[in-house]
Symmetry: C2
Subunit: 663 residues, 2 copies
């Protein structure tokens, strides 16, 4: 008789990866009907964008979704102008799970796993029994191939149902048609939203969506420039683990340790390789195959002790601050936000041997809802992440920051803050650690989350700075009212009561203000941006200073009223000398920009005490943003309204003549 252990052993067997996913398709993003439909669109569009970029073709992608019966059955067609797929690979690409070209390549791409598109084929056959139709044409051929296929899930092999050719009136491209169970919605997790957000971070793509009701939307490309092609690099030593090192050492053709180090790793020059060997206490000419486990561990330790350059960013393709700002404007201009915070693009970092780079942007104020959690826009390798926000490192990073310090509401200083803000985060990497094959949430890996936090804090500081300046300006505004309107009236009233002549209070007004006020306005008319900058000296002393105004490089500018001391493509500088109560104005006209292409920049002033500045900044570094925090308790540099009033109660001007106040 069989023992229990033997009975149990008999049931053991290998499971095909396709069988596994057939039973666990929710892992791949096929859980609910609306999400399943979105996933089919997403996987095909991501593939099209990758293929076009790799072939250096400006993507032109059309997505058409139509309902083909009264119950939840849809036809989803995605057609691109990419390079096409050679015939003998069509079956494997579309109907073999874990089959792909980018898995071992260390460079940023949307698809890496060789799972996504085959998963859609599997989902179609599971829910409607229908094969997927692929039409694809490569540039050299005069005809296109038409293949209909399914996956043989027991063997993870393609099952070709139909094999034909046809004439296709485009140079090259691929069209894929799924018939699936789904549900078409138009909410924040819909194909429409997905394509809209895709367009934000892929401004070189033209994307057309035809919805089931026939509505056609074109997300027109905003630039004809393809992103810089990403280049493949070798693994970077920092963050390499013993398991990976063992495999690289097993596969290498190098014989000696020194040549191994300098040929198999990124950023390891011969000099660095010498240093690694010395630090690890290993002979440079020892054979790689002779390395023991402990010696390999010593190498790993040395990787962390020796100074090695950060990985070459050629493998990454960040979006960049300008495009992030532009993208956010496209989506959010209807809400008329107060400010698009200057986005932060961090330097590349390393996570388990894989370079990655984090970018963040923020929008604040205007008609954004003030009493709801902030909206989070998450992107990974230029792909919008619409699901599983709660499981994502981006969300974790946002929740970790005490946003109350930066001017947003947040219960207990933890969790998603509440306020009129949108936060955008993009993480680009050669290998992103997604929480599942559906690739909609980034795992909470310390290195990545910490970088996201740093990027967010940079934006948060800018937000706070904006809020402080706004409050300061409001504060200064209040004082203006007092000083310019109420004070003369009070002086007159007092003199009337006391039957004395009205004193000249201009000088004391200036002393009370004690600020250098910089005001700027921008008007757009007839394809020109007219910028006016007015500087008023409301301090009791003559001030000499330099005003620096940054300008966009891609515009032509023309200056009137004051001659600049420096006139460069991206900034102009003026020297000014103003007596107390004196003002000066500069006018700059920009031509060659569309309305949205110019946004007001910070104006910088040097030569005066930074504490006197209102409406401008000392050049970066001269004033620590953190130090501005005191304004929350009460700004020492600006005398209080009450103080001003009580001073007036006594003898007006005299009180201030004794010495400088404020500042």
């Amino acid at each position: 008789m069989q023992s229990i252990a033997e009975q149990m052993a008999e049931k053991l067997k290998q499971i095909a990866v396709s069988e596994f996913f057939e039973q666990n398709r929710q892992i791949l993003g096929f859980d609910t009907l609306p999400r399943s439909l979105l996933t089919c669109v997403k996987e095909a569009v991501d593939n099209s964008l990758d293929a076009c970029e790799e072939a250096r073709i400006l993507p032109d992608i059309q997505v058409e979704i139509s309902q083909i019966d009264s119950k939840d059955t849809y036809r989803v067609c995605i057609e691109d102008n990419g390079p096409g797929i050679v015939k003998d690979q069509i079956g494997n690409v579309f109907a073999k799970i874990l089959y792909g070209s980018r898995f071992h390549a260390i460079r940023q791409a949307r698809g890496q796993q060789g799972i996504g598109i085959s998963a859609c084929v599997l989902y179609a056959q599971s829910t409607t029994g229908m094969p997927t139709r692929v039409i694809t044409k490569v540039a050299e051929k005069g005809y296109a191939n038409l293949i209909e296929l399914k996956i043989d899930t027991r063997r993870n092999e393609p099952a070709i149902v139909k094999d034909d050719v046809l004439l296709w009136n485009k140079p090259s491209g691929t069209r894929v048609e799924f018939v699936i169970k789904g549900k078409y919605l138009r909410n924040r997790q819909s194909p429409f939203e997905y394509l809209k957000q895709t367009a934000i971070v892929n401004p070189h793509a033209r994307i057309t969506l035809i919805e089931p009701d026939g509505t056609k939307t074109i997300f027109e490309r905003a630039t004809d420039e393809l992103p810089r092609p990403t280049e493949e690099i070798k693994p970077h030593p920092q963050g390499i683990e013993i398991g990976i090192l063992e495999r690289i050492a097993k596969d290498t053709k190098s014989r000696t340790l020194l040549s191994f180090l300098s040929s198999e790793f990124s950023r390891v020059s011969t000099r660095v390789a010498h240093e690694i060997c010395a630090t690890a206490g290993l002979p440079e000419d020892m054979r790689v195959k002779d390395l023991t486990l402990d010696q390999k561990k010593a190498l790993i330790d040395a990787f962390h002790k020796v100074k090695i350059m950060a990985p070459d960013p050629v493998c990454l393709s960040p979006i960049g601050p300008e495009l992030i700002k532009k993208g956010l404007k496209n989506v959010l201009d209807a809400q008329k936000p107060d400010i698009y915070i200057q986005p932060e693009t961090r330097e590349p970092c390393v996570f388990r041997g894989h370079p990655f780079q984090v970018e963040a942007g923020m929008v604040f104020g205007g008609n954004l809802p003030a009493d709801e959690p902030v909206q989070i826009l998450r992107f990974a390798n230029r792909v919008p992440l619409l699901y599983e926000q709660g499981a994502c490192a981006i969300t974790a990073a946002i929740e970790n920051i005490d946003w109350r310090r930066y001017g947003l509401e947040q219960r207990g200083g933890k969790g998603i803050p509440v306020g009129p803000a949108v936060i955008l985060v993009h993480v680009a990497s050669t290998k992103l650690p997604f929480t599942s094959e559906a690739k909609v949430a980034i795992a909470n890996v310390d290195e990545i989350r910490e970088e996201i936090e740093l990027a967010l804090k940079a934006c948060a500081r800018r937000l706070k700075n904006h809020l402080i300046k706004k409050r300061r300006r409001e504060h200064a505004g209040e004082k203006f009212t007092i000083v310019r309107e109420v004070l003369p009236m009070m002086a007159e009233m007092c003199s009337r009561v006391l039957s004395r002549p009205v004193p000249d209070i201009r000088r004391s007004m200036t002393r009370i203000m004690n600020i250098l006020l910089v005001e700027d306005t921008v008007e757009y008319r007839d394809n020109r941006h007219e910028i006016r900058v007015t500087v008023s000296n409301y301090t009791p002393k003559r001030q000499r200073f330099t005003v620096q105004i940054p300008l966009p490089e891609n515009a032509v500018h023309e200056i009137s009223q004051i001659k600049p001391v420096r006139d460069e493509k991206n900034r102009v500088e003026f020297e000014m000398g103003l007596a107390p109560s004196e003002s000066a104005e500069v006018k700059i006209v920009l031509t060659g920009l569309k309305k949205d292409e110019y946004t007001r920049n910070e104006i910088y002033v040097t030569g005066v005490d930074p504490a006197l500045l209102v409406g401008a900044e000392p050049p970066s570094g001269e004033m620590d943003i953190e130090s501005l925090e005191v304004i929350e308790e009460g700004d020492e540099s600006i005398p209080d309204v009450d103080e001003v009033k009580s001073d007036l109660d006594t003898d007006g001007e005299q009180k201030y003549s004794g010495g400088e106040k404020g500042g």
Copy 2:
């Protein structure tokens, strides 16, 4: 020269599933160091529990975690008394991903994928380069096998490093030792918490934990009974999709449609099979192999139109309300909660052909923190889920309910409610749709989330009922103060002021109260529970009624003071007749229970207007819980305190003699 499409095709290749997971181990629960350590413990313990249950052995599992160098390296050993593993399968079980015994079996088990334990081996070799050591002994052999192994990730095959035998002083069992990078914590997501929660839902297991600092904790088994063994069933027709039907039809040995239906599916008798054929409009004797896609679709439609019994629950192993309550008590008694809400175990349902069953429990009040989000305890197939709460259907269900209706705080009626409560949810299924291979969050599938919501709402209604009764009792308490203390004093004062004799106000006191008050207390002394139930008639009429007191079946009870009219193992009944202002007391002594094994149950009273009852309930159905909502605006059945006072201001007793008031 090669075309772009050809160049791209050359890079395409198959990726081994082990290579995929080596690069994406965060999917398997290996993201941060603390979580990776937990995952190793979890995968091994889950396997041990499954193996023991399958072999009908009471599990005795020891987990020992020790730090083996100053940096984050740990040895994690898990040893069980299970059936052991036959030698020629050790390699495959531990070092081949997607190799298992339960993938195709339709019955509830912790492990199903054949991924978990091999993933730990992979994690160990990736992070420390060390092989995993397995010692296992099957009952028939006099010795144990000792195997050290790694995974050859390029081929997904075991690489045996050491193969030996040793004597092992236990009848059978398995011990596995990983050396990994990790970090030992003791927070809400730690091995300690995991084992504690595992013990809650597996009271038949004895689990010992030895922590790195040497602390030894034994979670002793609370019962010697193994859970009923789960039996394998055939797929259930409801929820079967066309893709699965096609595969079953391809694999079947049945020739005719009728025999196919009645032999391949669960709950399809010949009668049901006849009905399905008729509904689908298909001849019963047609060959299965001749079915077209459209005919198969017609079958699927028929599966949903014909009445088919729910799947046989033999394949499932729910925890049951009593064990849920007991489990919650074990964890939460220190916080002295007000109430352990009676848990809800729903009937089994079907999701995509897989039966599943939902259970929920709730705890409220006491020292649980009142100003924090409620604590959520999630379980899937008796396994605690400690990570990715935000991505889980259980969390989504909780967030979907408007808890404000049931007495908890909740911003905007959405999201995790705030209040002194703990919510427990267990989902048991033959195939749970996890969001990733790490199996720590259940995908948000409508059928499952809706069942969870129903279970939660059942508990929520009980919570609300409790809160209403509590408020009612407080309300009645206020009246007691007025009526029993203040009223006589006021009567005396009034009579003194008016120089009239003090009136006898007892009858009017009773009329003002107008309640039948049931008070019960439980005391535990000398291994006995002493229950006292006092009933007081504070209505103006004589009342005849029956009092029913439910008792635990597994205790011996003894009744004093009043003779019951019914005396059964699980309840006693008394008939009472009380004049206005009269009281009666019953004493019941229970022996044979431990302190925690008795909890107060609802007392039921029949024969009086339910609106008069305070402290007891009409038997279920006689009063609609939802109708109790009115108490929130003001309980009509209880006169207002102000009303009572103003009545006294005039002529005291006389006013009430004219007729009945209240009720």
